[in-house]
Amino acid sequence: MDRAATADRIAALIAPFNKKGVDVTDATTFAGDLEFDSLTVMDFVAAIEDEFDIIISMNQQAEIETYGQLVDAVVKLQG
């Protein structure tokens, strides 16, 4: 799957977690802009993992701060 298609699917998944309706770009940060707390992160990561049938370990999550980094990671994890 190419980056654009992956990004579209992630965009659909993020909507219910984007409570403040933040305009999401590749530079949007989860902790800062979207104000995700640890529980939201867990639910959101689980949604992504189930959608793409992948594992994003805590170790990998630590490297992902922005929406763009997440899309890149998911593209890479799908192999």
């Binding site: 867990m42 993992e49 594992i55």
Partner: protein, 399 residues
């Protein structure tokens, strides 16, 4: 110069805001005198203890105390050394033998604290390229063990068997897998469906570690914990436990039937690079563990206490962590930290001590008043406790 402490400013402010309301600091209580496993003097007031995890009330057991005094006389106040150098005394072997007998397992390894037992075992057995699959509500010592090791860490939603299975199935073929579970989760006092979860773990080729810190001594026919109670203890590869709850002193351990387990003593850094427990501590632990093997009457009374308190608080209208009592922990859910602290203080004024638990230690950002019952609480004390909750709950506006 950047002040390295600036990262704590939000917490410092939260504390200042809380204390500025005039509430007693819930995190700096001093027990001035301890009268029994269930009563202490705090702020000059005789207080019933309902937040000590002293489940079996062994801290003042006459045999336990006598063995500790004897060990102090015979072996001195401390070992001043690592278990693998000069820090293994006869008593350390004796308490490991007591654990092997208690659990009916081949190997037992004693650490200086329960925290170190999780830290050491988890960080050592799961290495680079391995995967740890663990419950999101795991204790801090489990998380820290994960952080200290080099394995990939994959959490799943609390007690969610399907979420656990999905993650196990996605792990690359050939990778080592460790599933980490707890028998009793100490924040809400709920138990895990270990039988189902361990079956899924085994079907997917994982080894299983279960922390039974909050079940030892009173859950299961022989007090071995939730896994024993659910008939799946033989499928657990590593049981982690502590001496600082039912056993009534301090220390931690891992018991296992793994044929190569003894190598842990050489490769597990939190075991090697710390001083061993004092002789008096291992002596009290060994005596206590052997007495806990024959504590059926105390276990039954503890369960009665748990049931009575759960029903009493539920009937008063408090919101509890579990629908039914599942352990010796009854968690009372507070609407927020401010009212939780006010309720905690009102209880203390009534002469009742419970744990105030708040984020990040609690799940879902909850503030909890965590009650842990003791087999030495009398039926009358439990009724007194319910009465004090009623008065404090009305003063603090919770009920």
């Amino acid at each position: 110069m950047t002040d390295l402490f600036s990262k704590f400013d939000p917490l410092i402010k939260q504390r200042e805001d809380l204390l500025s309301t005039g509430v007693t600091d819930p995190f700096s209580l001093v027990m001035e005198r301890v009268i029994s496993p269930t009563v202490a003097v705090c702020n000059g007031r005789e207080t019933i203890l309902l937040g000590t995890y002293n489940y079996m009330g062994m801290t003042f057991d006459a045999d336990v105390i006598a063995s500790g005094k004897q060990a102090l006389d015979d072996f001195g106040s401390g070992t001043t050394g690592s278990r693998v150098l000069n820090g293994t005394y006869a008593g350390h072997r004796a308490v490991e033998d007591a654990l092997k007998d208690f659990y009916g397992m081949d190997h037992a390894m004693v650490f200086s604290t329960g925290y170190q037992a999780n830290l050491g075992i988890i960080s050592t057995i799961a290495g680079k390229g391995d995967y740890i699959v663990l419950d999101i509500d795991s204790h801090a010592s489990i998380w820290d063990g994960c952080k200290m090791g080099d394995a990939e860490v994959v959490p799943f939603k609390h007690n969610d068997i399907v979420a656990m299975e999905k993650r196990l199935k996605r792990i690359p073929e050939g990778a080592g897998k460790l599933v980490v579970l707890e028998g009793v989760y100490s924040m809400l006092g709920d138990i895990a469906p270990l039988k189902e979860m361990i079956k899924v773990a085994k079907d997917n080729g994982a080894m299983v570690l279960v922390d039974e810190a909050h079940s030892m001594g009173f859950i299961g026919p022989n007090g071995r914990g939730v896994a024993e109670d659910q008939g799946c203890l033989e499928d657990v590869d590593f049981v982690i436990g502590t001496f600082s709850k039912s056993v009534g002193t301090v220390g931690g351990f891992c018991v296992s039937n793994h044929p190569k387990f003894e190598i842990m003593r050489l490769v597990c850094r939190p075991y090697v690079f710390t001083a061993s427990l004092p002789p008096s501590v291992v002596a009290t632990a060994a005596t206590s563990i052997r007495k806990l093997m024959h504590a059926g009457a105390k276990r039954a009374h503890l369960w009665e206490n748990s049931g009575t308190l759960h029903k009493g608080l539920k009937d008063l209208g408090f919101q509890l962590g579990t629908e039914e009592p599942q352990s010796a922990i009854i968690a009372v859910i507070m609407p927020d930290l401010e009212r939780g602290a006010a309720m905690w203080e009102a209880l203390l004024h009534e002469g009742l001590y419970v744990n105030l638990a708040r984020p990040p230690a609690t799940p879902a950002g909850m503030t909890l008043l965590r009650c842990s019952l003791c087999a030495e609480h009398s039926a009358e004390q439990v009724q007194t406790i319910i009465g004090r909750f009623e008065r404090a709950g009305k003063i603090a506006g919770i009920i």
